[in-house]
Amino acid sequence: MNFAFTEDQVMIRDAARAFLGEQVTSTHVRRVMAEAEGYDRALWAEVVALGWTGLIAGEEAGGSGLGFVELAILCEEMGRVLYPSPFEATVVLAANLLSALGETQHLAALAAGDVTATLAGPNAQGQVTFVADGGGYSLTGSLRHVPDGARADLLLVAAEGTDGRTALFAVPGETPGLTRRALPTMDQTRRLAEIEMAGLRLPAGALVSADAGAALTLALDRAAAMMAAFAVGAAERCLEMTVDYTKGRVQFGRPVASFQAVKHQCADMALAVETARSAAYWAACVADETGPNGDLSALARAASGAKSWCSRAYFDCAATAIQLHGGVGFTWEYDVHLYFKNARAIEQVLGDPAFHRERVARLIGLDDTAEAAQ
């Protein structure tokens, strides 16, 4: 037990902060988010070259085999700058799932940066079913709110079979018959899409796993922990912007940061950020220390706990940031609105806080009343 970063982890954080701080400026975010594609390909190539897409992939898939604490560090740093990129869909969702399944072929392509990917499954609204069809499969259904669904090169589609099991298919984005519609979003730093399949024919080789249910649960819990870390970085940036702004803004002959009404709200933001950081690192450690044969309920509690805690903290911080910026916080010019919109989006990703609290309620045995009485 040592709940602090190792020297290597500190190096990863410092390097990520320096790189992203230099590259992903407010100007960059604003330019990219207004474009149709939604990310900068040249910068993405640099991210690939840094090895970030292969961070959690094992060496057999050309990755560096690091863990979820390291991935959480990257997510936190990306949250600080709201890096608009395929990272969440490609690495936090797809590579994470492939890794949980022990798959290496697609994982290697993701790690090498040859393709971007996403998951179209329980992380989106809707359902896809499949039946065996000749030597291959036929998929039918629609999913809404698929992250990067319209731009990813490869979609990992989770579909339910007639036996009730969930299978996973690798579906190239350009597969004929696959309908992908980009959805306009309030938070322009993230891309969502609707996808539809009506009897989409896939060859036998498209099947990644015939029974991916357990791996999906594991991977989605780990992903929730990573998004909690993303929220921490973004929430902390909201606090920093607010402290800086209020120190510089003078009213009644003194910086507004000297008023207790302002200071106490900043202190509450600091409380939210620090407890959220503790929550996110807790979940990242459990994600790291819990493999497919580990105590999955402990991971579920930590992941749901951290996701609900951190995304609420992020929203609260973003909301307070707008309030304490006063009028300019309401403008397009200042960055606060970017975080505010993103905070709301992050609350919803992989289940909102109320969903995760209800899940924790079940996991800590609130429904075991009958047993307890016996």
Partner: protein
């Protein structure tokens, strides 16, 4: 970064758990889960015997260096000890002010003679301590201390009043901040004195709290005396030493507090399941949020301890008091809401005022956000020291 404990740590955990199981029995059995904050009046003499029992077995001063008679346990073992002690229902320690505050201060700032004189009886449980900081006009504004001490021959003679002094009615010694420089003000001119409680110059008057019970006291010093050598640090250095004492409040025992809270939350959850409130969606959300918040508290404490060797206080340490106090206060209200109308019914018969443990929790936790730095003071400290915002203008 790693949360999992090593096999060697787990073996130590088993050792502590086994010792608690074997020893918290017989005449000590009724002490289980008793004597914590809000319940300090319960089984006092028995808990004093328990303190001696702990000391004899080497379970006091677990985090103290071996050179002064402590166990010298590494951080992971300290965490485990405090967690397992609380998990087993280990009673509120009557020696906690000596072990957690007076002792560490003497270890850090005291002379060799003071260490020899004062540390062994803390470890054995033979001498209990109380803290003489707050005064009627020095609460949040602690530097406004007015209690005076002057050196007369080979003795300090003390005049003044302290308030909110836990355990003063049973303590053998008190560490007192007193003004030793005539005409000084603020944090200058203060000294840190060790004062025997059993003398005619000291009067202790219990304060009856909203719980009906009395944990806290007023202490009057009317020509009270202590030997000239019973000063920690030099005359006039009292503020520095006192601030050092406050820093010791952030030790591994925080994890024991977290575990005690876990026991309380467990009781609230058990009631919710038994009376059906666990099916109420609003209550479910609050119970889950409380559970998550408590795990976050543990993670925050472990982070704080992992960084405790750094000279500057970390942000997670700055927010710690505000966080646990507010969480605990909210638990008190949640307990009442889970009980519903039944929350109103106390124990005892007509004409008595005996609260249930959860009623005590509800009422006593109102003090959590006031003592040891109110929530408002905590927010000032976070804003000014952790965030670097401008200091409050002072009169």
């Amino acid at each position: 970064m790693k949360l999992a404990f090593s096999p060697e740590d787990e073996a130590f955990r088993a050792e502590v758990a086994a010792w608690m199981r074997e020893n918290l029995t017989g005449s000590f059995a009724p002490l289980k889960f008793r004597g914590g904050p809000g319940d300090e009046h319960a089984f006092f003499e028995e808990r004093r015997a328990w303190e001696r029992h702990l000391g004899a077995a080497g379970w006091t001063g677990v985090g103290w260096p071996a050179s002064v008679g402590g166990r010298g346990a590494p951080l992971s073992h300290q965490v485990i000890f405090f967690e397992e002690y609380a998990r087993a229902g280990g009673p509120g320690r009557v020696g906690h002010i000596g072990e957690g505050l007076a002792g560490p201060t003497i270890i850090a700032f005291g002379t060799e003679e003071q260490k020899k004189r004062f540390l062994p009886p803390i470890l054995s449980g033979d001498e209990l301590w109380c803290q003489g900081y707050s005064e009627p006009n020095a609460g949040s504004d602690l530097a406004n201390v007015r209690t005076k001490a002057r050196l007369v021959g080979d003795k300090w003679v003390i005049e003044g009043q302290k308030v909110w002094t836990s355990l003063a009615h049973v303590a053998d010694w008190c560490f007192v901040i007193a003004r030793t420089e005539e005409g000084s003000s603020g944090h200058r001119g203060l000294s840190y004195l060790l004062v025997p409680m059993h003398q005619k110059g000291i009067t202790v008057r219990p304060i009856q709290q909203m719980t009906g019970t009395s944990e806290f006291n007023e202490v009057f010093f009317d020509g009270a005396e202590t030997a000239a050598e019973n000063i920690v640090g030099k005359p006039g250095e009292g503020w520095k030493v006192a601030m050092g004492t406050l820093a010791f409040e952030r030790g591994a025992s925080t994890l024991g507090q977290q575990m005690a809270f876990k026991n309380q939350l467990g009781e609230v959850i058990a009631i919710a399941k038994a009376n059906g409130r666990a099916r109420d969606p609003a209550i479910r959300q609050r119970l889950a949020d409380a559970w998550i918040g408590l795990e976050v508290m543990r993670a925050n404490a472990l982070r704080m301890l992992a960084g405790a060797d750094k000279p500057e206080l970390s942000r997670e340490a700055y927010v710690s008091k505000l966080y646990w106090a507010t969480w605990h206060r909210d638990l008190g209200k949640l307990a009442m809401d889970v009980l519903g109308p039944e929350a109103e019914i106390a124990e005892g018969g007509p004409g008595t005022y005996e609260l249930t443990p959860l009623q005590q929790l509800f009422l006593f936790t109102r003090s959590d956000t006031i003592y040891a730095g109110t929530n408002e003071i905590q927010r000032n400290i976070i804003a000014e020291r952790a965030l670097g915002m401008p200091r409050e203008q002072r009169a």
